[in-house]
């Protein structure tokens, strides 16, 4: 079974993003970029399936600017076999990403696609579900455990109130939650090896997908600020303030 793992290049999770003063977006110049953390978990899970003999090949695919090849290299350094870069400039919405991925899936014929549950830049949480819809495949979002059962899958999902386990008819789409695994760090020899692994260069137009955004971004603004309050000296003062000043007790 081949496993396809889509990965996204995003602003590193440690960066405090700043909104541009003209309201056109957030500052992306000279900002550290990394693989979306949920996608790292997806790559890790695919590699574990391969190491357990359940998967034969792990292919990472990224849709974005030329620099997204660095994100693919990160996946290859972790241990993926090869990469596909689909070049697309500007803001590509989840629906368009899902349409491109559908075409990639049709060409590659994987038995399983593992995606991050959301990208930490736009926080949309849509691409996996949309890809499943377009392919007519089964889906399990927010996975905390994944088991292969022949060509089918058993997935435990993090849901409101606890955990749910479902069985998926393969081929299937799985999106990762935080507790699925802890991604490995790429070792130096593997980083060197990754440089020789193949990356296919494609562009969105190869797949005939219209990238015109459906959502027009009118503006991007700072959230309403919240000021630091006061420090209280002890529990008695805290209780007193909560009772008399805040009125929440």
């Amino acid at each position: 079974m081949k496993v396809l793992v889509p990965v996204k290049r995003v602003v590193d999770y440690n960066v405090k993003v700043r909104v541009k003063s003209d309201g056109t977006g957030v500052e992306l110049a000279n900002v550290k970029m990394s693989m979306n953390p949920f996608d790292e978990i997806a790559v890790e899970e695919a590699l574990r399936l391969k190491e357990a003999g359940k998967a034969t090949e792990v292919v990472v695919v990224s849709i974005g600017p030329a620099q997204a090849s660095e994100t693919i290299r990160t996946g290859l350094a972790m241990g993926a076999d090869r990469g596909i870069l689909v070049k697309a400039e500007g803001n590509v919405e989840p629906l368009a990403v899902a349409k491109i991925l559908k075409a990639v899936v049709e060409a590659e014929q994987p038995g399983l696609v593992i995606l991050g549950k959301q990208a930490i830049d736009d926080d949309s949480n849509q691409t996996g579900q949309m890809l499943a819809a377009l392919l007519g495949w089964s889906q399990a979002t927010f996975a905390s455990k994944l088991e292969v059962e022949g060509s089918d899958f058993k997935v435990t999902r993090e849901v409101d109130g606890g955990l749910q386990t479902i069985k998926l008819k393969g081929p299937a789409i799985v999106t990762t939650d935080l507790r699925l695994n802890e991604p490995r760090y790429a070792s130096l020899p593997n980083i060197m090896k990754a440089k020789k692994k193949p990356i296919d260069d494609k562009s969105a137009s190869d797949y005939g997908v219209d990238l015109t955004p459906r959502l027009e971004v009118l503006k991007t603004a700072e959230p309403a600020g919240r000021k630091a309050g006061v420090k209280v000296k002890d529990v008695a003062e805290l209780v007193n303030k909560l009772k008399t000043e805040a009125g929440v007790l």
Binding site: K16, V17, V26, E93, P94, L95, K117, Q118, I120, D121, D123, S124, Q126, G128, Q129, M130, L131, A132, A133, S138, Q139, T141, F142, K154, E158, V159, D160, G161, G162, L163, Q164, T165, I166, L168, K169, A172, D177, L178, R179, P213, R214, L215, E216, V217, L218, T220, A221, E222, P223, A228, G229, V230, V232, V235, L238, L242, K243, A246, V248, L249
Partner: protein, 316 residues
């Protein structure tokens, strides 16, 4: 225009998140119909509760085993079957609808707008990006709208309606997934997303036992829900559904008490809209103090039992 609101319920009672999403749905300006899809007898009771909400014009009920366990494929197929009659589809951004709605959107060839916090105009909404560090105003150019609603920012719609209840047209179950089992914690405490007070613990709690010994008695004294930071959940000190933050639950209670939580951006994203925030942490430079209304620099193992006791004396 007519909007279909998909109701959140636990197959017995209607959830508060439905009332909140109804407020957003009503702001779109058209008639609002509510779809209650579920398995078993409880579905009818949830539908009757939905019919009583102010601003609901009609309730559609779909009852059947395919809807019993919130599987994405049959529920999405049902909503898509109803789609020709509707211009907008609204649901609370709970785990159930985060799962289902993008599937609906793609089947309708619509770009979903996730977790809106404000309706600016029927086609224009505000939504947070980058863990709430920026707010985007977006206008949807799609003919039909698919929207999920961050419930912490909308007031709950009250009762006062008497809508007709009809059976929804049925849709075939694609039969792609099946339910195996679930582990759902039964608790008498209020749910995080509707709790008026929340007490949360962080990595400094050091163990699940300490959550039970320090956090839970304080929560029970306050009648509060219990939350946790990602670090605490990752370390196994608290179950996953307690997680408050960018990728967990987003809450906005009257009072949020953060104990031993440093205040990573990802955690603040889930609670900074709370009305009053209290932080107890022994590190006076912890970022949590930058958003706290009342900060107490103290060892939580002393301060929390003291606080619990002081509240007891207040008759709490």
């Amino acid at each position: 225009m007519t909007t279909l609101l998909i109701a959140e319920h636990d197959h017995e009672t209607l959830k508060d998140s439905t009332n909140k999403a109804l407020t957003a749905a009503s702001q779109l300006g058209g008639d609002v119909h509510v779809l209650v899809a579920g398995g078993g007898q409880g579905t009818k009771a949830a539908a009757e509760a939905a019919a009583k909400l102010a601003g609901v014009a009609k309730v559609l009920v779909a009852e059947g085993p395919a809807y019993e366990h919130d599987l994405a494929e049959p529920l999405a197929a049902l909503i898509v079957a109803l789609a020709p009659n509707y211009d907008a589809f609204v649901a609370p951004a709970t785990s159930r609808f985060k799962n289902v709605m993008p599937r609906v959107a793609a089947l309708l060839d619509v770009m979903q707008v996730s977790e809106i916090i404000k309706v600016v105009a029927p086609d224009t909404y505000e939504r947070p990006i980058y863990a709430g560090n920026a707010i985007q105003t977006v206008k949807s150019k799609d003919a039909k709208k698919v929207i999920t609603v961050r419930t912490s920012t909308f007031a709950a719609a009250g009762e006062g309606g008497s809508a007709a209840i009809e059976n929804a047209a049925s849709a075939a179950d694609p039969g792609l997934s099946t339910f195996v089992g679930e582990e759902v914690a039964k608790s008498d405490r209020p749910e995080l997303t509707s709790a008026k007070i929340i007490v949360s613990g962080g990595r400094a709690m050091q163990s699940r036992e300490n959550f039970a010994k320090y956090i839970e008695p304080l929560a029970d004294k306050l009648g509060a829900g219990v939350g946790a930071s990602r670090a605490a959940v990752d370390a196994g000190y608290a179950p996953n559904d307690w997680q408050v933050g960018q990728t967990g639950k987003v809450v906005a209670p009257e009072l949020y008490v953060a104990i031993g939580i440093s205040g990573a951006i990802q955690h603040l994203a889930g609670m900074k809209d709370s009305k009053v925030i209290v932080a107890i942490n022994k590190d006076e430079d912890a970022p949590i103090f930058q958003v706290a209304d009342y900060g107490l620099v103290a060892d939580l193992y002393q301060a929390v039992p003291e606080l619990t006791e002081a509240l007891g004396k207040l008759g709490k």
